[in-house]
Assembly symmetry: C2
Homo-oligomer: 206 residues x 2
Amino acid sequence: MRISELSRSSGVPVPTIKYYLREGLLPSGERTGRNQAAYGGEHLRRLKLVRALVDVGGLSIAAVGDVIDVLEASDVVTHQVLGVVQRSMGSDDPPEADRAAQDEVRDFLARRGWETMADDPAARSLAGVVATARKLGHHRFAAQLDAYAEASVGIARQDLDYVLLHSEVDDVLESMVIATVLGDAALVALRKLAQRDASARLLGEE
Amino acid sequence: MRISELSRSSGVPVPTIKYYLREGLLPSGERTGRNQAAYGGEHLRRLKLVRALVDVGGLSIAAVGDVIDVLEASDVVTHQVLGVVQRSMGSDDPPEADRAAQDEVRDFLARRGWETMADDPAARSLAGVVATARKLGHHRFAAQLDAYAEASVGIARQDLDYVLLHSEVDDVLESMVIATVLGDAALVALRKLAQRDASARLLGEE
């Protein structure tokens, strides 16, 4: 199909598609003339993935590029894709954590058997959260982490089960991206709804 | 204390404090001279809360203003504070959902007994996620929502328990803000760590 049809099928404007082509987020079409190229189902699928990462995941174009690069690498393993997707969704600049908060998170991870992850950016973010709670005088907030971790383990198992439903390598990698990005957005929304329900019941106000 | 001491105690630069004062995020100090004012513990506490909302929650200054306004209103009830905090953290522009995705989310909420929330912005976000998954050919993604909702109910109960640990009205409202904003950041980090752990175990790659 031509670029105009690709635009109609995907709902993405032609100038945006051209921008994605220049940025390497979309592979070039097959040249069919001096100023024309033909695009196929592969392009449409990729275009939808890019839009999902931008619209739902809130990723920057540079971060989408990192995800696409790792999806296209021939020697990549699934676990690596997860790392790249996670980093591309992370905030670049977690609040700084003091030594006490870092130690607390390190102990917490060790208790869960996740001690190898103490240098993970997500562990740094967590230490930033604990440090912030402390500064606010909410020392007891750290005790919430165990319950949050319990819930997260169930969610992560569910995520991986979803990924492993897919047997083709390309599908496994893409579903990893989708489970991570869409899953985050779905969880944030569901937590809000569950909080409102719990609040209405417990506090008796609507 | 003077503004310079408030700056030292909080780690927030004086020009930033002055900006917050102008924007009404911080109440004025007690005038002690033509160009001087005295600030107390209340100001320090508020300043830390503002920084937490900005640094950890990623709220805009306008959104922080909305949260502060509802915290300061004399006739506010806890359930309302939750609504304002949730909206201030929400993305302004969830991806559009088609009719089928909206219906699916409506049915899902009804099954959970949350049907009154179908017009909630969080429900709209959820419909956007379902619509995006469908467009990507991931029709089975919607089946994940039940497990996510189960986990969210546990988390929300934990959040409310934390809030109800506090007995003073001011503390209840502040802890609602903190549980929501810090809790979201903690959960996002913990889900990443749990995913990496599950992936390393199940996929056997490190």
